[in-house]
């Protein structure tokens, strides 16, 4: 091992050792930079793969990396994956702002996945005293989650706070109007009333929900079956009429009532959606106004 004692060889070994270390660090940074560029360009799949690579090789800011990966999955609509990485970012971070961002991101993923209860339980973890400028988004997400759960009063309150956060007084009163429209529609279109009406007079439930074609259809179908029962009873016997036609009559009688209930519910949901879109439009306008200022 005489050659190892030579100063030139020793020098080369030391230089190599440090250069390897340096190259390694530079590579991870380069990967993250490259991923950032891809994210900005909208190549979310590539960006997520590269961020994952950097995470695997032990990039120092793992919490930020997890958040970036979660954002990539969120933009690709891979909601379960994004929620998982937001969770990871939350638990690996010690910064309050990053934790808040992770919770908001996770809740948004859950809302888009229609898991409103889970989203709300996440949003409840946020300490509103610590979130600075993200209160608008917090209220926005709460509003949607409550809306999905049909908790209209709480949803209205959250959306109003959101509009207030966008410094708008007109927005809050308009939101109240939209929610009043929802309440009015829910009173006007009651599925249970429609079901009961259809049981009393076949087709009446459909009329109640404003579906005239369906009402005529139900009445005609059940009228025909009733005529068949009577004619069977006259032609053969009452027992035969009950055995042959009555099961069909019962089937379409109950089916008609269920259909009336379904139609009324559909009507209610359609009106609800209309009001929801109106609320979103108002918030959008408020956002644009705010950006113009």
């Amino acid at each position: 091992m005489n050659w190892f004692r030579k100063p030139v060889v020793l020098f080369l070994v030391i230089i190599n050792f440090f250069s390897i270390q340096l190259t390694y660090c530079q590579n991870l940074d380069a990967i993250v930079d490259f991923s950032d560029q891809q994210f900005a360009k909208g190549n979310f799949e590539l960006a997520a793969n590269e961020y994952n690579r950097a995470l695997f090789f032990g990039y120092y800011a793992s919490d930020q990396l997890c958040l970036k990966i979660a954002n990539c999955y969120f933009n690709q609509n891979q909601l379960e994956q994004s929620a998982r990485f937001y969770d990871r970012a939350y638990f690996s971070s010690s910064s309050d702002s990053l934790k808040t961002e992770a919770i908001l991101g996770k809740s948004f993923s859950l809302i888009l996945d229609k898991k409103y209860v889970m989203a709300l339980s996440e949003l409840m973890n946020i300490d509103s005293a610590k979130i600075n400028n993200q209160e608008v988004k917090l209220n926005f997400l709460k509003g949607i989650a409550y809306f999905g759960l049909h908790e209209d009063d709480l949803s209205e309150e959250a959306f109003r706070k959101c509009a207030e956060g966008l410094s708008s007084n007109t927005g809050t009163s308009e939101i109240e109007t939209d929610f009043n429209a929802i309440r009015k529609s829910e009173k006007r279109y009651n599925p249970h009333t429609a079901w009961l009406l259809s049981l009393l007079v076949p087709g009446a439930g459909q009329l109640y929900s404003g579906e005239f074609k369906e009402a005529a259809n139900s009445a005609a179908l059940l009228g025909g079956l009733l005529y068949l029962t009577v004619s069977f009873a006259g032609k053969y016997s009452v027992f035969e009429a009950i055995a042959v036609v009555l099961p069909w009559f019962q089937r379409y009688y109950m089916g008609g009532a269920n259909k009336a209930e379904k139609l009324t519910l559909e009507k209610q949901l359609a009106n609800r959606y209309q009001s929801y879109q109106s609320i979103m439009k108002r918030l959008e306008v408020e956002c644009q106004k705010n950006q113009m200022k």
Partner: protein
């Protein structure tokens, strides 16, 4: 002088941050815009359009009439997804031999009852019914 500089930096950063937040919220609103959109109604007339011969067009017309005027008032009794009527019209459209199509339809109608054994079919996630497409 120093105070003015600090003030102006704070003001600019606040404006930039606020604008960024609003822009983000604007994008978020657009993302959730159609979240509560009701599912569109199935257009059964679409089945009648692809008919290639008289048999297919006759059955397609019968199917559309049945779906619009009879099945729409019926209770949800079919245990399969797609329902027997949809399965039947798909068989008639896709099977070259109409005899095989009728045999498949008869087989399906005989299998459709509430006593169908659990685990015999995959479960459709949306409807919770037994998934049995014509490919099975």
């Amino acid at each position: 002088m120093k105070l003015i500089r600090i003030f102006s930096i704070t003001l600019i950063s606040f404006i930039v941050f606020e604008t960024n937040c609003n822009a983000q919220l604007f994008n978020d609103i657009q993302r959730v815009d159609s979240l509560f959109k009701p599912a569109p109604k199935t257009n059964f007339s679409a089945f009648a359009k692809g008919s290639k011969n008289e048999i297919e067009s006759t059955f397609s017309t019968m199917f559309v009439l049945y779906k619009n005027f009879i099945s729409s008032q019926d209770i949800d009794a079919c245990v399969f997804q797609p329902s027997c009527s949809v399965y039947a019209i798909e068989c008639i459209h896709h099977e070259k031999s109409k005899l095989i199509a009728f045999m498949k339809i008869s087989d399906r109608l005989m299998r459709c009852h509430p006593l169908v054994s659990k685990g015999a079919y995959k479960i459709d996630k949306i409807t919770g019914k037994n998934f049995d497409p014509i490919e099975n």
